[in-house]
Symmetry: C2
Subunit: 330 residues, 2 copies
């Protein structure tokens, strides 16, 4: 079955293509009678405007691109969900590509976006090795880029992210409030700026406000690493009374060890994390956490995108605030 086009409608109605086009868009030049006829036929023939032709003609697509390290991730999936929702409500469709933490994929994904002439891209850097010229090139082509979560240091770009320092400090506050004496703080990939920000803020805060609290620092690349680290610090000699987990992956690893060794929470050990809340609520008692909402971030990113597309360049760095959610683990 051949697709119905403006031309086809025009032929059947003995009208010109332009008249049909205008009728369908409710253009004032066209009489009500004609509009009615056109709409009726379009309806019965299932006319669907060809987005390609429109985009080619108008040089503007209604598609936004999202690059994410992985779709299957508790934080990014909710970010994507939020962006998709906002987009759809504003007449945009979303194209999602994953970089799998691989800069090469990131590049080829960007290429796909360029070829599909997306009208904007949300990007999360896949590695600490920032390859920014590509993004700069996007901007030169008037394709706004909004970075999220893992953002470049460079301030030629628009960025939205969690209030990383605030998150870390909030966690530290609650650790101090618990009157912890020996703290284990496990952070993520050392290469990422997000890690550095959180760690620096945490460290400084602890030194300033609880100089007598002994803090150990560790980095875990994944869940198993975190479980191992926790194991090491759970033995008699260096037993810690509070553990801070920078990510969900780390929290999961830590909890694995805690459950395995049957350490009591919160009496024997206090646990606090940074999370969107899903994982912390899986345990009993619920783990206390500083909330970072992928959903919120997605919504913020979207308004930034719209702002960038409408007005001139708004080279801001916005953060979404964090809040502490009391579980029963502290």
């Amino acid at each position: 079955m051949t697709n119905t086009t403006l031309k086809l409608l025009a032929q059947q109605l003995q009208l010109s293509i332009s008249t049909v086009s205008r009728a369908l868009k409710d253009h004032p030049d066209i009489s009500a009678a004609t509009k009615a006829k056109v709409n009726a036929l379009a309806q019965s023939l299932d006319y669907e405007p060809n987005a390609y032709a429109i985009q080619l003609r108008t040089q503007s697509s209604k598609i936004l691109g999202v690059i994410v390290p992985a779709i299957s991730n508790l934080f990014y999936d909710s970010f994507i969900a939020a962006v998709e929702e906002e987009s759809r409500n504003n007449g945009y469709a979303v194209m999602i590509l994953q970089s799998s933490h691989n800069p090469e994929n990131e590049l080829s994904n960007l290429k796909i976006f360029r070829q599909n002439r997306v009208s904007g891209v949300f990007a999360c850097l896949s590695s600490s090795a920032e390859n920014l010229e590509v993004y700069q090139k996007m901007n030169e082509r008037e394709i706004p880029v909004v970075f999220f979560d893992i953002v470049p240091k460079d301030n030629r770009f628009t960025k939205v992210r969690m209030a990383d320092e605030r998150c870390a400090i909030m966690a530290a506050e609650n650790i101090i409030k618990r009157n912890a004496k020996k703290v284990l703080a496990i952070f993520g990939d050392e290469g990422l700026s997000i890690t550095q920000k959180r760690k620096t803020a945490f460290q400084k805060f602890m030194q300033d406000f609880a100089p007598k609290t002994h803090c150990s620092y560790a980095h875990a690349a994944n869940t198993n690493d975190a479980a191992d680290i926790m194991k090491k610090f759970a033995d008699k000699k260096q037993k810690v009374d509070t553990v801070f987990c920078m990510t969900d992956e780390i929290l999961i690893g830590v909890m694995k060890t805690i459950q395995e060794l049957q350490i009591k929470v919160p009496s024997e050990i206090g646990v606090i994390g940074i999370s969107n809340g899903f994982i912390p609520n899986l345990y009993y008692p619920h783990i206390s956490y500083v909330e970072t909402s992928g959903h919120e971030l997605g919504k913020l990113a979207f308004v930034q995108m719209m702002a960038n597309m409408k007005g001139g360049k708004t080279l801001t760095e916005l953060t979404v605030d964090a809040k502490f959610v009391e579980g029963g683990s502290m």
Copy 2:
């Protein structure tokens, strides 16, 4: 900055547009010398073919659509991830839309796909009220549809899904092996065919092979429901010794109650689920589960899509097999 087009390249090289086009595609008609020149200029001017023009001209897009109830979901996110990966490796980009379990959204999403002339769509039904004419219309327009997970009964369509009956039976087998006497089996939304299939198979198997085992059946719409149900069955009078959870959501709820009441797993209660494995491994001991891999299903769906796009209609219903993964909860 204006985009570089074939026309621009042609002008600068004093060649015709068609020559440039053919040179870039390594067409045998064009001499090596010309090809070299063209490629060099294209490179230095960052030429990117305009996907819209190509799609308009060739009437075929390199975009696939995915409709999913929710992106932020432990099963669907891995399905999406797999489809995206396969697609990218085959030169396709993926457009993802969520229906939020709402048939209306499902319809408008399909519209977006039609207007963007996607060359195929993966669809997961958003409700038991199957609105199939729309999908039939897609097929008539030669846009293949591959249903996944929640599929229509109608056999005019291509479907891939988990081997639902097998999953349930495998779980039942392991329950019998444990020598369970009082079983609580919690299933999901009663309206979905996937629930019916699993429940029927489970029930029949238990009756046939362990007629003396007492089974209670319940349905939970979400995590909290499951937690409540579990609470009811954990009291003295009707204490169960084994619980079967049809979904991750249910498992989470059940485990919440189990942790809260400090019931020992597996000595006091055996727990078994159907899952992709992420959630079961969060607990200690790991929960035994029948594995249903969204990733596997995604890969299967993709090959079905390719088959449908190449050859004629292959109206098959394929299932991906399940396997039992021993945790320590049985």
